[in-house]
């Protein structure tokens, strides 16, 4: 048995999406900008996909701009907010400390260009509040960008409430919904968002394609120049197979959403229950405000990369926020933002499951993780010092 429990990293392509895409490689391969009939058939497929994606989030098709993925959509949304603000002399942006690097690195770039960035504290439970946003908004605030679901710990942010605050104060609001779309209900009207990013490969669509929702009247700034594609806002020949696959996968995910959410939540509860029995472990992030499939634990006295490699050898694909898995000095900025000390954050494990997983697979994870944790603790000088009382247990 090999259990794929890293769906927050990427997912397999759904069979329906693959079937939908297949004709657009070798049969209907025209350029959607071409006037001949193969081109026009591609343009029709593009339009259908745009309507499908728009419908899935309660948007108008004219508000959907296809991109090369979630990161590009995040970049474009933030640079747009920054540019609109700058025209009015507003150069302050509000975000959170545990955004995806697609957001944080774009904000770093803007900071070097003279923007002032406020990163809100995400508290021990990994949830910001609308009140924090309200308190942080200033006269010169150009943009608020807050992720919908955190990619490492799965906590859901109060996007509708934050959106309401932003609307009332007249501040543009973007949400990185890459981990939300296809997993929980997303309705851009109800959420009061002006821009929203999504990525196909997080909901069983293909890699390399995403979309940016931009409310009518929000003038997007180009990240890629080059043509009149996407209403002139994203140059480059459209990735028709990818876009068609994205639409098919999203339609499938949204159609089965209620059933999948109930199913995955039940699996997750079993997983949390099983792993919580490991002594000196901790579930990261709010117990209730979380997406169905993402679970993040810290185990004291062990290091995440060795945990991952041993789980892989036992047939489980997971991920970790340990420094060793990133190649950098520090463990995950998300776990540090929760206030976890470095030595605890090094021992983290993220398991992200979805409707493709089975109960037998969850049983396999619940059996294997404690064995591997015990094995590593047995050879850990950190655990030895904890058990002998030389250093106090932190969790």
């Amino acid at each position: 048995m090999y259990v794929y429990a890293d769906n927050a990293a990427t997912t397999s392509l759904s069979k329906k999406a693959l079937e939908a895409m297949t004709p657009y490689f070798c049969e209907t391969y025209g350029n959607a900008s071409s006037l001949h009939s193969p081109g026009q058939r591609a343009a029709e497929a593009l339009q259908r996909a745009r309507e499908t994606v728009a419908g899935a989030i309660h948007a108008d098709f004219k508000e959907i701009y296809f991109t090369g993925g979630g990161s590009e959509a995040d970049n474009q949304a933030i640079l747009t907010g920054a540019a609109i603000g700058a025209r009015k002399g507003k150069k302050h942006i509000i975000s959170t400390a545990f955004e995806h690097h697609a957001v944080l690195h774009t904000l770093d770039k803007l900071k070097k260009q003279g923007y002032e960035i406020t990163l809100l504290d995400v508290h021990e439970n990994g949830v910001v509040t609308a009140r924090q946003v309200a308190d942080a908004i200033r006269e010169d605030t150009a943009l608020v960008t807050v992720m919908f679901v955190n990619n490492e710990i799965g906590t859901i942010q109060p996007i509708a409430e934050i959106g309401a605050v932003c609307r009332e104060r007249g501040v543009l609001f973007h949400t990185d919904a890459v981990q939300a779309v296809g997993h929980i209900p997303v309705d851009v009207e109800a959420l009061n968002v002006d821009m929203l990013s999504m990525a196909a490969h997080k909901f069983h669509g293909p890699k390399g394609v995403g979309a940016l929702y931009a409310r009518r009247g929000v003038p997007l700034v180009n990240v890629i120049e080059g043509g009149q594609q996407e209403r002139g806002k994203r140059g480059g020949t459209e990735n028709i197979p990818g876009i068609v696959g994205m639409a098919a996968a999203l339609e499938e995910a949204v159609t089965g959403l209620d059933r999948n959410m109930a199913y995955v939540t039940a699996l997750r509860e079993k997983l949390i229950g099983g792993l919580s029995k490991i002594p000196h472990s901790r579930l990261n992030g709010d117990r209730e405000k979380r997406v169905p499939g993402t679970v993040n634990f810290c185990f004291e006295g062990i290091e995440g990369e060795s945990l991952l490699l041993l789980l892989d050898a036992r047939g489980i694909a997971a991920s970790s926020g340990s420094a060793c898995t990133s190649g950098s000095l520090d463990p995950s900025h998300v776990l540090l933002a929760l206030g976890l000390p470095h030595e605890i954050a090094h021992g983290s494990l993220r398991l992200s499951i979805d409707a493709y997983n089975t109960e037998e697979e969850i049983d396999h994870i619940i059996r294997s993780v404690p064995e591997v944790v015990d094995y590593l603790r047995d050879m850990s000088p950190v655990w030895d010092a904890l058990e002998r009382g030389e250093t106090p247990h932190l969790i």
Binding site: G301, I302, E303, E305, S306, L309, L310, A313, S322, A323, C324, T325, G327, S328, L329, P331, P341, H342, E343, H346, D378, M379, S380, P381, V382, W383, D384
Partner: protein
Amino acid sequence: MALYSDKVMDHFQHPRNVGKMEDADGIGEVGNAVCGDIMRMYIKVRDGIITDVSFITFGCGSAIASSSMATEMIKGMPIEKALELSNKAVAEALDGLPAHKLHCSVLAEEAVRAAVKDYYDKHDIAYDPAIFGCDVACAHQHDHDAPAEA
């Protein structure tokens, strides 16, 4: 290409000489939990020869593999010879380590030296402090961002 060589994976998944040693003659511990890796090495010495060695390590796959390989390399060695063990030799014996993991082999070298120093100190064996550089305790302040060495 896989992250690690087959040899690293072998020593990581089947570490040699792993475990605590109750009657060790010298114990060396290097590293820092904040950085994400700690190695503790135990040695047993008879007539100037390292007759037994074991380790416990908190760290990533390459840290565990480097510890395991270092113990294999110094087992049966005269103590002066063990002090010559270089991180480069450990990394080479593992068929190489990724650039950002080379510090794991440095830790292994330092753990051996720390264990020998502890043995000398505990047994009142005179030595030239210069052979341990400044102080073993500070030697592990490795710089993760330092450019990779061969």
